[in-house]
């Protein structure tokens, strides 16, 4: 659920020296910051020091934060290295989209990357958890073997409560973005 007015974002370069403008709130501002400051260069400087994190595998999948950000069009891997840089042409194309559309694109491309991995996201006792994609729906599939003791009235109530929570929260229905 989101607000009626479209959400936006704010990017701030903390304790900036050498330029007066340190806060940016639109993609246009970042791409066209002018000669005073090259925001893309600043972002590349931060990315180059975060290569280890960008290449860390998520759970048991082969997806990494870098590969998800690359599939969402934010980053591009520098050829024959494990380093990433900002994908400027892709970001320039995102100018046509609203902040909500960009955020949803990112969410669903991330889910897509995890759903396309044939192995489990992580293992559970006697089972596993994985993201599944069917049509325009994504979901979380969980399987496990758990041994329950004979329920008392109180534990039965708790079990019913958790079952209803899991059933209501296990499916994420999606609608493709158009226009």
């Amino acid at each position: 659920m989101l607000s009626v007015s479209d959400p936006s974002f704010q990017l701030k370069l903390n304790e900036l020296k050498g330029s007066t403008k340190d806060t940016f709130s639109t993609l246009d501002e970042i791409l066209e910051a002018g000669a005073a400051i090259n925001v893309m260069g600043c972002l590349d400087a931060v990315l180059s020091s975060g290569s280890y994190w960008l290449n860390k595998y998520l759970g048991s999948s082969d997806a990494t934060p870098g590969s998800i950000l690359e599939s969402a069009g934010f980053l591009r891997r520098i050829e024959e290295t494990t380093k990433y840089k900002i994908d400027r042409p892709s970001l320039a194309e995102m100018r046509q989209k609203t902040a909500t559309e960009i955020a949803l694109d990112f969410l669903f491309k991330g889910l897509d990357a995890l759903a396309n991995w044939p192995g489990p996201l992580f293992k559970l006792p006697g089972g596993e958890a994985s993201i599944v994609h069917r049509g325009n729906e994504y979901g979380l599939r969980i399987s496990a073997q758990l041994r329950f003791r004979k329920a008392t009235a109180a534990t039965a109530r708790t079990h019913r409560l958790w079952t209803s929570v899991l059933e209501s929260g296990s499916r994420v229905k999606t609608k493709p973005i158009t226009g």
């Binding site: 659920m1 989101l2 607000s3 009626v4 007015s5 479209d6 959400p7 936006s8 974002f9 704010q10 990017l11 701030k12 370069l13 903390n14 304790e15 900036l16 020296k17 050498g18 330029s19 340190d22 709130s25 400051i37 090259n38 260069g41 600043c42 972002l43 590349d44 400087a45 931060v46 020091s49 975060g50 280890y52 994190w53 949803l104 229905k173 999606t174 609608k175």
Partner: protein, 100 residues
């Protein structure tokens, strides 16, 4: 007593007679010298000398990430200690992402 630090926080306006109270989540991780802090805040209520108001359905949430390192970063002629990206105007309620 469990003294392990929690990622959950109660967020208030620092020493102000009016402001907001919210529920916050802060997770910090370090990659070498790079420190990454991911945070989120959901507003619960506003308060002032005239009373308080429940905000959870209309107040703006904040989701953000901050990356910094002690020696800072240099790009061209500028230097900075880190970067913070936060959402602005992301409120709970009113419009569903799901098709009707």
């Amino acid at each position: 007593m469990n003294r392990k630090e929690t990622v959950f926080h109660l967020v208030t306006s620092d020493g102000e007679p009016s402001g907001e109270i919210g529920l916050g989540v802060l997770h910090s991780t370090a990659v070498g010298a790079l420190k990454i802090r991911a945070f989120a805040r959901i507003p619960l209520a506003s308060y002032s000398k005239d009373g308080s108001e429940f905000l959870a359905a209309k107040g703006a949430c904040t989701i953000g990430v901050e990356a910094s390192r002690p020696e800072g970063f240099v790009s061209g002629n500028v230097s900075f200690s880190g970067i913070t990206v936060t959402t602005v105007g992301l409120a709970i309620g009113k419009r569903s992402l799901l098709p009707a």
